[in-house]
């Protein structure tokens, strides 16, 4: 009775194996095509924190416009997704570069993970709470007694609870919007550059509370594997400079080159969505920040980093005070040279 079944399973196994082998050959081919142009380029990988999207636009701009190649780098951008764990990948040295939020990197460094913030990716984090338009919650203080779907363990949770003297329950993220659409009471974490657009397209009226407006304001950052940065500072320097150039061009210039590549890499990304995300990043100045207070693309203010680490310590999220050298090295930024 089980023999045909077993044979069937083995067949499936073989098929998947050969399919993945084929896929592997295909990806090696495409990346080797790009690298073949100049064998002198140094190959490095950047691990994204999600499926390719405009929040990664500057990197794709630098890639497609040849800024990385000009800097002597053959950069391979690796897509992420739910459970992609970019911080673990960069910490274990599987990739030299990744990205994340500055507060998460502080937590990782405090636990002994060899990660190093080398530049800002965005001056302010587009993470927000997503609610239906007619939801009674309008401020952070209104969250008292509610339940929020978010990543448990995020440091903004104890911040909101302490700052506004409120309590709320947590539910783990379910990656998708079906639950939000079905449940008019659900409050969930989102990126203001992404989910609100997709929901409005489906005819769902929504509002958002930007977490940065609560006073909890981390950077989004470019992260390096610390031993890699120690061994190859010139590569980190080149990567940071070319990435910042890519982001400047993506935000101030024509984003179509990056968008073309993102659409190729992510079938679910529509042109409308990319236009929305791109303009939202510009309007809300997530990437550029406020020049009046010295913020600019890629820049890191050591005072802001230090005061954030101090905040995490005061919240009890960090068990001990964490010196800036433990998690960041600002000498890779262009204007420090």
């Amino acid at each position: 009775m089980f023999t045909p079944m077993a044979r069937f399973i083995r067949k499936i196994g073989q098929l998947t194996l050969s399919a993945s082998l084929l896929a592997c050959c295909a990806c090696q081919k495409s990346s080797s095509d790009e690298i073949a142009d100049s064998a002198a380029l140094t190959p490095v990988q950047l691990q994204l924190d999600w499926f390719p999207e405009p929040a990664h636009g500057g990197f794709y701009q630098a890639l497609t416009k040849g800024y990385y190649a000009e800097a002597g780098l053959a950069v391979e951008i690796l897509p992420g997704g739910p459970g992609g764990r970019p911080t673990q990948k960069v910490a274990s040295g599987q990739v030299p570069f990744s990205m994340g939020r500055s507060d998460d990197m502080m937590l990782a460094a405090a636990q002994g993970l060899p990660v190093l913030i080398v530049a800002a990716l965005m001056q302010h984090d587009p993470q927000a709470l997503l609610l239906h338009q007619d939801h009674p919650v309008n401020t952070f203080a209104d969250l008292d007694g509610r339940a929020v779907m978010a990543y448990p363990g995020s440091a903004w949770i104890p911040y909101l609870q302490k700052r506004f003297e409120i309590e709320f329950d947590l539910m783990p993220m379910s990656f998708g919007l079906a639950r939000f659409i079905a449940d008019p009471n659900l409050i969930q974490a989102c990126f203001v550059t992404d989910e609100p657009f997709r929901l409005r397209q489906q005819g769902v009226a929504v509002k958002t509370l930007l977490l940065a407006d609560s006073g909890y304001d981390p950077y989004r950052v470019i992260v390096a594997h610390r031993p890699f940065a120690d061994a190859h500072p010139e590569i980190v320097l080149a990567f940071v400079a070319a990435s910042i150039r890519g982001w400047q061009d993506y935000i101030r210039g024509n984003p179509s080159s990056a968008h073309g590549r993102i659409a190729q890499e992510n079938d679910h990304m529509t042109a409308d969505q990319m236009v929305f995300s791109h303009s939202e990043m510009i309007i809300q100045r997530f990437v550029e920040g406020d020049p009046a207070v010295g913020e600019s693309i890629g820049a890191l203010d050591p005072r802001r980093l230090k005061s954030h680490a101090q905040l995490l310590y005061e919240l009890g999220v960090l068990e001990d005070p964490l010196p800036i050298e433990a998690y960041a090295d600002l000498t890779f930024l262009p204007d420090t040279h």
């Binding site: 993970l113 448990p152 363990g153 947590l170 539910m171 379910s174 639950r179």
Partner: protein, 263 residues
């Protein structure tokens, strides 16, 4: 059921070897990567440091596991009895039972949350779904595998169908049922943790081990993560020990597998 030294000391030696290998592996990892494998004493320290959280989470996961497991036992026993009555019913329902087992829980979880709400209800249903199949299949197999000669004997004595089921088929199926129960017992805590991981809720301090996994993962607390894993193991042992005890109580007086053998 008495623990015998002949079974305890090999396990002890294996345990000590395992811990030694653990330290050895850790010593071989370069310092830049040793965060990946916290040494055993750090895991023990994490147990102490997070004991309140771990205990409360283990209790919550244990409750979810027990509820889902119990529900699965009751429903599976009733369904197995029904299935054992006729070939027609078996042929009709088996494909759908298989389908139930094939449903990927991770995919079902967001739908379940919509129907049942996050937290204990969803965790219970997910545990039920995971435990249910081995119980039904084993119990049904037991109910239809009764010794032909005994069935004929019952017929000779003009036993009613009901007498045949209660006096013959059910007792004869018990060893099969307990095999299913033992598999389900190891699956129940896993089911509850998976459920909690994807459909949990921290309301009323109700987060379980899956929830803690998410928190420690987000905060990169590796030793605490290992401690969470071990707490899940302990919970699994509790379930299996309870099932084994029950199995011994029901079978040791008559079943061959409990024949005295001291080798």
């Amino acid at each position: 059921m008495k623990p015998r030294w002949s079974t305890v000391w090999p396990a002890l030696i294996a345990g000590v070897t395992f811990v030694a290998l653990w330290y050895g592996t850790r010593a071989m990892i370069s310092p830049a990567r040793d965060f990946m494998l916290p040494p055993p004493h750090e895991v023990l320290a994490a147990f102490g440091e997070h004991s309140t959280e771990l205990l409360s989470a283990s209790r919550n996961t244990g409750i979810g596991a027990l509820l889902g497991f119990s529900l699965a036992v009751v429903v599976a026993a009733l369904l197995a009895l029904t299935l054992s009555l006729s070939n027609l019913i078996r042929a009709g329902l088996y494909p759908y039972l298989m389908m139930m087992q094939m449903m990927p829980v991770i995919v079902i979880a967001p739908i379940l949350v919509l129907w049942a709400g996050a937290g204990l209800p969803s965790v219970t249903i997910i545990t039920f779904l995971i435990c249910f199949f081995p119980l039904v299949v084993n119990t049904t197999q037991g109910l239809i595998s009764t010794d032909r000669r005994l069935v004929e004997l019952f017929k000779m004595y003009r036993a009613t169908k009901w007498q045949e089921i209660v006096r013959l088929r059910v007792p004869a199926a018990l060893p099969y049922f307990f095999t299913g129960l033992r598999i389900a017992g190891t699956l129940a805590p896993i089911g509850a943790i998976v459920g909690d991981f994807s459909a949990g809720n921290s309301a009323g301090n109700g987060g379980g081990l899956g929830f803690l996994t998410l928190i420690y993962g987000a905060q990169f607390k590796m030793a605490a993560l290992f401690a969470t894993v071990l707490s899940g193991c302990v919970l699994g042992f509790v379930f299996v020990a309870a099932v084994s005890g029950l199995s011994w109580l029901c079978l040791h007086q008559w079943h061959d597998s409990y024949e005295k053998s001291d080798n």
